[in-house]
Every structure is written in C-alpha cells, then in structure tokens.
C-alpha cells in the first residue's frame, strides 16, 4: 500500500509538471473550490490521521483548535502585523538520529509537502506558512525553494490562489542546528529570533504560538498524507493500516539490516515483519546475528528478539514508534559505544533550561565516557587535580575497587529517574528511555567488566 511513496519514480522533484501529471494539486483545488475550511478539517478528522513527528496527536483535532481562534484584529493589522494572524508551520527540522524520512520526501516529492501545507493553511485560515527545515538539509531546502517558486507561478500559492480570494505565502525557514527545535514551541521561539528553548505549555501553539498567534506545527510526513486523504476520501484512508492510527508510515531501516533505507508500510506492522520481510528489511546482513532493535531513534526503546511481534501504532503501545526509524543492532555491536552515543547526543542537544536535563544529561555522558574507557569515578574531592587523575590511572591499571562502579550505577539510576519524571520538556524523558532499557536488559554486561 503506497500513499507517500506513490509514483515517486515518475516524479522529477524539480518539475512541478511531473507532479501535476500524477494528480498533484488536485486535492488543493478540491479544497479551495469545493470545500469550506470546516469541511476540510472534518475530513481530516474522519481520516484519523495522527501526527507523524512522534507524539501522534490527532491532526484534525489540532487544526480544529486553531481554526476556532479569532483572527487578528484590524487594529493589530493596521499596526503592521505581517499576517492576518494565524500561522501554519511545516516541521521539517528532522534531527532524530537515524531518521531521514522527511528529508527523503522533500527530495523525492517536495510538492506533496507543499500541497498538504497549503491545504492546512487554508483549513485554519492562515495567510502565512513556513517550512522550517533542518539547517543541514541545504540541498533539500533548495529543492523546496524551487518547488515553492513553481507552485507560485501556477497560482497554487501566493496572492489569490487558483483565482480565489485566498492568499497564502510560503517561506522556507532554515534552522541553525539544534535538535530541540523539532519541539514545536522551541521551533516557534527560534523563528522569533530567540533561543530555541521550549516554552511553557499551556498555552498550546494552536491557541498562542508564533508571535502569540494561533499556530499549527505539523510534521512534514503528516502533511504529505493530506493530498491523498482529500483526493481519495477520508473513509478510504481510515481503512488503511491500524484502526487506532490509520494510514501508512515511512520507516527508516538502518544498522545490521539488509535493505537499509526508507520503506513505506501500513501502521500496525510489527518490527518482526519490518526487519525480516523481504518487502522491507529482508533480514540481517550475512553473518550477523540479531541482538535488539531500537525503534524511534536515540529516544526510542530497545526491543529484544522476543518482543518483535508488537504492532507499531500511535495508540497506546509498549514500544512507541516515535519518528519511525528502526535501528537493528547485531550481537557484535559495542553496547558502550551506543550508550555513549545516546548520552552524548542528549547532552549536546539539551537546551540548558531546566536543572535535571542540563545537569543530568551532562553527568550521564560523563559516566558513559568512563564506562567506555573503563575509568573509575574521579576521587570525589573538591579540587580534582593532577593527583586525582593519576590516582584514577592507577585504578585503571590495577584492581578495580568494587563499590566504585556501584556508585556509578546508583548515580545513573538516580539521573535516569529524575530525567524521566521531572524535566521541563520531553527531551529529558527521551534521554532516559534507551538507557533505562539497556540497564534493565544488559545491566550485568555494562557494570561488571
């Protein structure tokens, strides 16, 4: 079942004509000519589409919240406001390790995203839309820019779309390198020229977002589903995939799996099938033995061989699928490298706002480095000096003192505990997920060496 990847092979991303020939922008025309915004929202609600960024919130409900907010007053507009008061943002700040689904869509079929974005902006009454793209995706930003230009020429966006009285401006906004800006309020802050730190919620962006106005932030993949839903009907879409979260999903397979890369599969598929079915992963690379899989990037859980039969949905499931990337780890992998990779990632990417995340991810990373190098904790003394470093070296060469490593383990458990429960935004929790699983599953291996 292909929705997202449908006719990718027939489309030239630099030529809007090739997209139009594949029934591109039909959905936009239908929305603008035949539907009022409330109809569009109703249709999306019926489809059961859920956000593909990871949290899986109902897209239709989100839109409805923003649509219900009043537009900017005339007074505010007179004072030079840039928009009629609502914003629609496509979140393409993809930076979850091991995830490049949105990038793939942008480079294969940029108009699919733009069309979804325009329909969304129309539905909530936004006159300004942004595509917030990861600052590393320079080539894709260029592709999108060209696509926006071509769509403007065809009157799909800009002033008076398709001869109607509707104006929607689309701007490509390039990020500057910060994982946390994938969080919608941090993303909004960074557009406003502020530090990309998450904001306090409530108010949620659909009520008060960019410049304090109602704002929808939708993941690029979510938007790429919209044209299909309007074209084929919500009913048809809702029957694809699983009942709690209909539709298909782009999964990214990486690691020790044979067919790496992007694979579209219906939601509700099991990791087992994704990894071993020849339609998708095709099993492990020759000579490699499955150890565990990590679902959803660095912030995802670890799935052991015995649990691969749990369906992946946005409902309440044991292994949330997050961004939908699947890292297959084989038995030869170095777990301590992975631990260090996760800890280092979240340490680098913590925005520094709240104590448990700023200090906790740092300490976790510090301990991960020690575990990796088989170092012991520095003697706990105020002025750690060369003397202490030497003591540490001696420890390393000589006998490990039991109890020292125990201390590390206790500290890790404390840090993971506070990260998962007390941080300002979900990043802290993300940082603890894989570590928690690793310690539960392989604690002995980590601490007993």
């Amino acid at each position: 079942m292909n929705i997202l990847t449908r006719s990718w092979d027939k489309i030239n991303p630099l030529d809007i004509g090739s997209y139009i020939r594949q029934r591109g922008y039909e959905a936009l025309q239908k929305a603008i000519r035949e539907m009022v915004p409330a109809d569009v929202i109703k249709e999306i609600k019926i489809s059961g589409l859920r956000g593909r960024g990871g949290a899986g919130f109902s897209t239709g409900e989100k839109w409805e919240m923003a649509a219900g907010q009043n537009s900017r007053s005339d007074l505010e507009r007179a004072r030079g406001a840039t928009s009629n008061g609502k914003y629609f943002i496509c979140n393409l700040d993809e930076s979850e390790p091991g995830t490049y689904k949105d990038r793939t869509i942008a480079e294969k079929n940029p108009h699919q995203i733009i069309e979804g974005l325009l329909i969304g902006a129309y539905a909530i009454g936004a006159k300004k839309a942004y595509i917030y793209i990861n600052g590393n995706y320079k080539k894709q930003a260029e592709i999108l820019r060209i696509a926006v230009g071509q769509a403007r020429e065809k009157e799909f966006l800009g002033r008076g779309i398709l001869g109607s009285a509707i104006d929607i401006e689309v701007e490509i906004f390039e990020g500057a390198g910060a994982y946390i800006c994938g969080e919608e309020t941090a993303l909004i802050n960074s557009i406003e020229g502020k530090r990309g730190e998450p904001r306090l919620k409530p108010p949620f962006p659909p009520v008060s977002g960019l410049f304090g106005r109602p704002t929808i932030v939708n993941n690029a993949e979510t938007l790429a589903n919209i044209p299909y839903i309007l074209r084929q009907g919500a009913k048809k879409y809702s029957q694809i995939g699983s009942s709690v979260s209909p539709g298909t999903k782009l999964f990214i397979l990486s690691g020790a799996v044979k067919n790496k890369g992007a694979h579209e599969a219906p939601l509700g598929i099991t990791p087992q099938e994704l990894i071993f079915n020849s339609l998708y992963g095709g099993g492990l690379e020759t000579g490699k033995e499955f150890w565990f899989a990590q679902i959803g990037g660095a912030s995802g859980r670890l799935v052991p061989a015995g649990k691969l039969d749990q369906p992946l949905t946005y409902g309440n499931c044991e292994y949330p699928l997050g961004s939908g990337s699947v890292l297959v780890v084989d038995k030869n992998a170095d777990l301590k490298d992975l631990l260090l990779s996760w800890a280092g990632f979240f340490h680098r990417e913590s925005c520094g706002k709240c104590v448990p995340c700023r200090e906790g991810t740092y300490r976790l990373w510090e301990i991960a480095k020690r575990l990796k190098n088989n170092d012991l904790p520095l003697t706990n003394c105020n002025n750690a000096s060369e003397r202490d470093i030497n003591i540490n070296k001696n420890h390393k060469e000589g006998q490990l003192v039991r109890g020292e490593r125990e201390k590390d383990r206790e500290n890790i458990e404390d840090i993971l505990w506070t990260l998962s429960r007390t941080t300002f935004c979900p990043l802290g929790k993300f940082a603890s997920v894989a570590w928690n699983d690793a310690i539960k599953m392989f604690g002995k291996k980590i601490f007993d060496k």
């Binding site: 600052g135 390198g177 910060a178 960074s190 502020k194 990214i252 790496k260 990590q294 992975l338």
Partner: protein, 146 residues
C-alpha cells in the same frame, strides 16, 4: 560582504534575525562582537538577547575558531558503519584525542545526526560533509582538506 550589506538584505523583523546571523556566520566565519552589535542595533534588540540566540545554535560560532574542527557522527546508524574506527584512525593520524582539544591544532568532536544515515559514516570538516568515510579513506580526506 560587509555587515551593513548583509543587514540591508533583510527587513528588521524578528523572524529575520536567525537568517541574518547565519549569513554573517557564512561570510565572516563567526559572529564577533562587532557584527553582533550591528545586528542588535539593526533589529533594535539588546546585545545580550542577540548573543544568547547566536550562542545557542550549532551552526553559529561567537568566537573565532583557530583550530580546524573535524566532526564525526556518533549516531546509531553511523556507529553501525564503524564510525568509531574512523575516529580512532583520525586520532592516530593527527595525534589528537577525541573531544580533547588541549594544545592541538585540530579538534575532533562528535556531532549529532545530520540525517544522512544512509550515507554514513559522516565526517564533517569545518562545514564540508564527507559521506561513507572508511578508516582506509580518511587519510586522503585529511590530506586534502586540512
């Protein structure tokens, strides 16, 4: 391009600040105090606010970097493609230590995922990206780009 020229390309609206800073970074290599003051004046913002934004993001530097920075991706997929072996090789070739820049001309750092996992391991020198780097090929890259 002078800072004034860069500034005049943008309207002084808050949503343009990040773009201005990125452009300064691109032209100047870093965002120094003078440039930051120029941007702050143009956008009518306090210097402290512009600096706190500029220092937040990976792709902008607020200090002139005298060292060549080599970054290597530590994401799971790149690890699976032996990025750590590449790191070891770089350490050996340049006689430096990962994440320790005391007294060296080069700095070897780990970086966060750049979304190029299908082309890993990824190595980045200054802002140039190298894909599918192997321990065997890293010598050539270093020889050519350092």
């Amino acid at each position: 391009m002078s800072i004034q020229k860069i500034l005049l390309k943008f309207e002084p609206k808050p949503e343009n600040l990040l773009g201005v800073l990125k452009e300064i970074q691109k032209e100047n290599g870093y965002i120094g105090k003078k440039e930051c003051e120029g941007a702050a004046g143009y956008f009518s913002l306090p210097l402290a606010r512009v600096y706190s934004t500029a220092s937040f993001f990976d792709q902008m530097k607020t200090k002139k970097e005298s060292k060549k920075i080599i970054k290597i991706c530590s994401g799971g997929p790149c690890l699976g493609e032996k990025s750590m072996e590449v790191a070891r090789q770089i350490e050996m070739l340049l006689k430096i230590e990962l994440e320790n820049d005391a007294r060296a001309k080069y700095k070897l750092e780990l970086m966060s995922c750049a979304g190029l996992c299908d082309r890993g391991p990824i190595v980045m020198i200054d802002n140039q990206i190298f894909e599918k780097v192997k321990p065997e090929t890293v010598d050539d890259i270093l020889a050519n780009y350092l």
